[in-house]
Symmetry: C2
Subunit: 412 residues, 2 copies
């Protein structure tokens, strides 16, 4: 099923909105076997929408569009669809009733112009929107299909899950793509590539791609073919070979990332953790609690941004702060050790650093970060030197802190 | 300067990576006057790259590609460029020296295969990469230009800022687009649209678009034309009219979002804040400290996830937790009030809620959130009922908490 995604919206062309819709659609549709060949973003112009619809119809069997279905003035997709496929708008009293009901359930009055949401291209299949007023539109044109969804991410996501995938599964093609992601953390793409070469790793019958990010390099194995069992066998075999080669850099190959692997280890070992953060300002706690059920292992966190807070909340001795500074191995040592005692947890993570962009000195440059880890057998202190970008330094620190915890949890 | 962006990478088509590069390029290039008409994502296939380059050359004056320039096996852009423009690869000893130096400065040995980075299409202009080994390539073809950049976001961003924009400014077209974003928070797109209609707001000579997100609806005013002074005057006039109409929902129209406006108000008033978080797990503290210089107003935060932490760290009375529960107005009242006293700040924000997906009851459903705000004149408690999605509930809570703080800071 050759598929193209079209996202409509000037805001994306202007770089003011990240196109997270295309990524969501691509991810979900790939899982049900769609072969996505192209993603195109165009602006809110009627003729642009008509042109790209015609172009894509020449290449793909399935086209998904998002954006331009709301009732406000800049929403043009519906008329472009009517023009492309030569259809008229048709009034649907049942849709108007659904929308009116939704507003009245929330005790709100429906603004008058929202009524245009009840007009839909004639002969189209309509897909329910569980959380908004814009329904989805399917135009079936011979063997080809165009599915148009609203652009508001929460509505679009709900519709993909609850309406589009069930609709597509009725028309599903044979399975034609299998992939496995090997998540790594702790080293560079070029080093991993070198390790793989030196170990004479081959991946016949699969593609291997490197996807670097702050969360670590992902090695993606992709099988394209008709033999699903063979595909599953190949990616499993190669993933397990990569695991051997990667050693401590291997995180998982079952879709979990570093955060999930670390929190799963905490749950498995019935261990608890607390966090004491300075430069990351709560991001480690936020990452640890991002997962439902996190109260099982996460008890408390302290964001001790000022020196006073480090002393008042975590009893870091005044003379440590004076002699060594807030950004020092000594400070994170006391932060982690004292918090572990106060919180009564098995582990405590602490961080202090110079996130930047300002605040660095010759001796302590921007990017210098200390991570403390108090554990049942003592306290470890790690020093890192990252770059000059504040956001990147904060994120890197979160992942490195979690990785130190993961490594400790894996120790015998 | 009609512009298209092409991002290359199977990982984007598979939905495994968000295309943040395109957004960054679009944002930065729009600022220097590029008129971006289309963004296309294609896979790592040589022929696909050649095809899209030829297509885009037929429509645009400037084409920016990202991805596929690294030394690993899946990087194919360079050969596709050579094929499209009929060029050979040329060896550049100076590039090899730059790369070798970069590795040796970090005390690392350069893997052998990285050497291919020194081969570049003949007759191309090369753009320096300040942080990585893949240089950028400019092909000048008559009046048209193709600029190819690596796909690693940090490298791509540094190159846009430090190499591409200076290069383009030498060839800059007349200014042809001016926009102004009016950031709102606290109500729905349809309500804003209704307010605007009822106030007979017109925007002759400008486009008006609605961009809803969890951070609030942005109203984007766009002027397209040659008269820069007239454009600036129009968007300023309409923005100020919208400000009047929007009242408390108006956040800013100078590019700042709710977080920046709130932290700027804190700085302006020399006020300090502390945070006590349960369901948001540190996200409010993280948002407040995302901005350089945040130590001026942010002193400390507590992530009191367990009931014990609420009692131990914030002295929430045991009987309050027993009688009213951790998710209650009473609990956030004590959390905010006590933290403000302990931290010695002017303001303290507290939150407790049921983020979901599980943990709800008939009486206290998933999405029920209490926000406390202790201020110099007392303590306010706000109740919100959001939806069932954990991540969205956590994010919404962050923004609503900051908005309550903003409103309080604006009170006389």
């Amino acid at each position: 099923m050759i598929t193209e995604i079209i996202t409509i919206g000037n805001e994306i062309l202007l770089g003011q909105t990240l196109d997270s819709n295309a990524a969501y659609i691509a991810d979900k549709l790939t899982e049900v076997g769609a072969d996505i060949r192209r993603i195109t973003t165009i602006g809110d112009g009627n003729q642009d929408i008509v042109n790209i619809l015609k172009e894509s119809m020449g290449r793909a069997d399935l086209i998904i569009t998002t954006g331009g279905l709301g009732p406000t003035d800049d929403d043009l997709t519906k008329s472009a669809i009517c023009q492309t496929f030569n259809r008229k708008l048709e009034y649907h009293p049942d849709i108007l009733k659904l929308i009116t009901d939704r507003y009245s359930r929330r005790g709100m009055v429906m603004p008058d112009f929202v009524k245009t949401q009840a007009d839909q291209p004639e002969g189209s299949v309509l897909l329910e929107n569980p959380i908004g007023s814009a329904v989805g539109i399917v135009i079936e044109n011979g063997d080809k299909r165009v599915i148009s969804l609203p652009g508001v991410p929460s509505e679009m996501r709900a519709m993909i899950d609850q309406s589009v995938i069930p609709y597509l599964q009725k028309h599903k093609d044979s399975f034609n793509i299998i992939f496995r992601n090997v998540q790594t953390f702790g080293t560079f793409e070029s080093y991993i590539a070198d390790m793989i070469r030196k170990n004479n790793f081959t991946h016949e019958g699969c593609e291997l791609a490197y996807l670097p990010s702050l969360k670590g390099v992902v090695l993606r194995l992709t099988y394209r073919g008709d033999d699903q069992a063979e595909g599953e066998k190949l990616v499993a075999k190669y993933a397990s070979e990569l695991r051997e080669i990667l050693g401590d850099y291997y995180i998982a190959d079952d879709g979990r990332d570093l955060v999930e692997v670390t929190t799963d280890l905490l749950k498995e070992k019935h261990a608890t953790v607390a966090t004491a953060e300075s430069c990351t300002g709560g991001m480690i706690a936020a990452a640890l609690t991002d997962i439902a059920g996190s109260s099982e292992y996460f008890l408390q966190g302290a964001v001790t941004y000022s020196n006073e807070a480090k002393t008042d909340v975590l009893d870091v001795p005044q003379e440590i702060l004076v002699d060594h500074g807030a950004v020092s191995g000594e400070t994170v040592y006391h932060m982690a050790k004292n918090l572990r005692g106060k919180a009564g947890t098995d582990y405590a993570i602490s961080v202090s650093g110079i996130a930047g962009p300002a605040g660095g000195t010759e001796e302590k440059p921007v990017g210098l970060i200390y991570i403390g880890l108090a554990h049942p057998w003592g306290v470890d202190v790690h020093e890192h030197v990252f770059g000059t970008d504040r956001q990147i330094n904060r994120e890197r620190t979160v992942y490195h802190a979690l990785n130190h915890l993961r490594m400790k949890l894996l120790e015998k």
